[in-house]
């Protein structure tokens, strides 16, 4: 019982990892700590949603877990470049309220990543981090936007350690 009182996120992270391994997330190709020694630095590879412009894509994400997790959200960034109105093309920073103000300790790393995958198909062009693609969306040039997204999804595709 007293173990559940542990102050560091270690116990919960191990628990989440175990849950992921026996019950994988459809949105991900892989997920886990970067190394056995550093449990607060994870990495993930996300799949694109079939039937969208992101179809067939693979993106590597970098996940940093703060010491007061789960009371504070993890920091998630795209390592692989992605063309999306709410993701900074250069830094990979993601604009998602879930990762900032509306974080709740009830979320896990996997549910967070699922939300990020959902963000791919429900972009908010009105609060953009990538102005160029957001402008295409706002002007209604969906053909152009889709072409651009498909181009980057294909050309930037993460190819390391393919397991699918």
């Amino acid at each position: 019982m007293s173990s559940s009182r542990s102050q560091t996120p270690t116990k919960r992270l191990l628990n989440e990892l175990q849950t992921y391994q026996s019950d994988p997330n459809d949105a991900l190709v892989e997920l886990g700590p970067v190394s056995d020694n550093e449990l607060t630095h994870w990495t993930a590879v996300m799949k694109g949603v079939p039937g969208t412009a992101y179809e067939g894509g693979r993106w590597k994400l970098d996940i940093r877990i703060p010491s007061n997790y789960p009371n504070a959200p993890p920091e998630v960034k795209f390592v692989t470049r992605i063309c999306h109105p709410n993701v900074n093309f250069k830094t990979g920073e993601i604009c998602l309220d879930l990762l900032k103000t509306s974080w709740s300790p009830a979320y896990t790393i996997t549910t967070t990543l699922t939300s990020i995958q959902q963000l791919l198909t429900s972009a908010e062009p009105d609060s953009p981090l990538n102005v160029d693609i957001a402008q295409l969306f706002r002007l209604g040039d969906f053909v152009g936007a889709e072409a651009l997204i498909r181009y980057y999804t294909e050309s930037e595709r993460w190819e390391g350690r393919q397991s699918v």
Binding site: R5, L14, T19, P70, A106
Partner: protein, 443 residues
């Protein structure tokens, strides 16, 4: 890490014959820590969390982690039913999981005959394992109604009790032993409330022992509830010293900034109050240990990159080695900047002669910024830099913090470009190059 890697988890059930237990176990786990509920508390929005988890959440943003409705820590209520379910589930879990896993193994060996029967038997065994209580009457029930979930079964038990009352015997309300109606009054006078092991037909219903347990446990619980919960403070109204005093009175560390004091007080309140909720309260010493762990991971002792250099036990040599490239760069920069001013050397010599004391030097600088360019001590720079390096090495060996090395390096830079005021304070102009390095170190 691998030794601690096997952490019980609700998904353990997925590959067994009892995969339906996965959602059951998931429901018995706290959404915040993902562990079994420890002292479950229910919020006003009817969500249940561990006492410590929800107290921490409410302290940080005042919202329920599941539905985000606002709530307050003093509105939390204990969820005793969930506590009992979790306790009995945890007790039954290992045996049940083992059976369920063996079942899968067996099925793989023998194909799938008798599967349904086997599973039913497992369920029965599981129920028995859950409670180590008299089970004779239950066995027949569970054989009749294997598929029952627990709530209906409890109703049946209640009905059973009513029926059993019809057989002419009545139950002592204190010890639950059945006896003839005429003997009950004399029994009540001497009944001590201890229920003896049932004998003969006096099979006790399942709900009975838990009533007795409750009766017995209540006195033990008294001291726990006697522990006073800590009130929440309005920190903005408290002066730092008053807050420090409060922390001292509570017997917890009272060091650090006001911000840290507040954080520590909040955490202590969470720990303390959740311990008050607990049916198995721990000692203050254990709580203090928890606070210490918190202190090291998230409080004042948390790794703070900016503060590392300021620490007393700072490894100056290590720092100097690991940042050597940056120091070298500073020195190289300093050298490069020296070159362009060599042309004014001659003029500078003339100026040098004018000064004899540091006071004059200071005046000179203050009065004529124009001359700053002329006053570069360029001729001595090569020496100065080598001395700086020497001194830096020596400082390292002497165990001086590398903060002074950083200062030195930046001073080396500063020397060449502008006037370094500290350096000029005492030394006459001519001796400046040699002595300049001593002064900051000896200060």
């Amino acid at each position: 890490m691998n030794s601690t890697y096997d952490i019980p988890d609700s998904t353990d059930w997925l590959k067994t014959s009892l995969s339906a237990f996965e959602p059951l176990e998931a429901a018995l786990r706290c959404q915040v820590c993902k562990d079994f509920y420890d002292t479950p508390m229910i919020t006003t929005c009817s969500h249940t969390f561990c006492s410590l988890c929800i107290r921490r959440c409410l302290a940080s943003d005042g919202k329920c982690p599941i539905c985000r409705s606002s709530d307050q820590a003093d509105k939390l209520r204990k969820n005793g039913a969930v506590q009992e379910i979790v306790d009995s589930f945890q007790a039954a879990r290992p045996a049940a999981l083992k059976l369920a896993r063996e079942d899968v193994a067996l099925r793989e060996e023998h194909g799938a005959p008798k599967r349904m029967l086997k599973r039913k038997l497992d369920d029965t065994d599981l129920e028995e394992a859950e409670e180590q209580r008299p089970k004779q009457s239950r066995r027949t029930r569970s054989q009749n109604r294997v598929q029952d979930s627990s709530p209906p079964r409890l109703e049946v038990i209640d009905l059973d009790e009513d029926y059993e009352d019809d057989n002419g015997l009545v139950k002592c309300p204190v010890c639950n032993i059945r006896m003839k109606e005429e003997s009950i009054w004399s029994h009540l006078d001497k009944c001590d409330g201890q229920s003896k092991p049932s004998s003969g037909r006096n099979s006790r219903s399942r709900s009975t022992p838990s009533v007795t347990n409750l009766l017995q446990r209540t006195p033990e619980k008294e001291p726990a509830s006697a522990l006073a919960r800590l009130p929440q403070l309005n920190y903005s109204l408290l002066k730092e010293n008053a807050l420090r005093k409060k922390l001292q009175d509570l017997g917890i560390p009272a060091l650090g900034s006001k911000q840290l004091l507040i954080k520590r007080h909040v955490e202590w309140g969470n720990l303390w109050n959740s311990n008050c909720d607990s049916a198995r309260p721990r000692t203050k010493r254990e709580l203090l240990k928890d606070l210490d762990t918190w202190e090291r991971s998230q409080g004042g002792g948390a790794p703070n990159p900016a503060a590392v250099v300021m620490k007393k036990d700072f490894d100056g040599n290590g720092w100097a080695t690991s940042n050597k490239s940056q120091f070298d760069e500073l020195i190289a920069n300093a050298r490069r900047k020296r070159t362009p001013v060599e042309k004014v050397e001659m003029k500078e010599d003339a100026v040098d002669k004018m000064e004899t004391t540091a006071a004059e030097t200071r005046e000179f600088y203050d009065n004529s910024n124009l001359h700053n360019d002329l006053r570069r001590p360029s001729e001595g720079n090569e020496d100065a830099l080598s001395i700086i390096r020497e001194k830096a090495d020596q400082a390292n060996l002497d165990g001086l913090t590398s903060r002074s090395i950083v200062n030195l390096a930046s001073r080396a830079n500063a020397h060449v470009n502008t006037v370094d005021e500290d350096v000029f304070l005492d030394a006459p102009r001519d001796e400046f190059i040699g002595n300049s390095l001593d002064s900051p170190l000896h200060n």
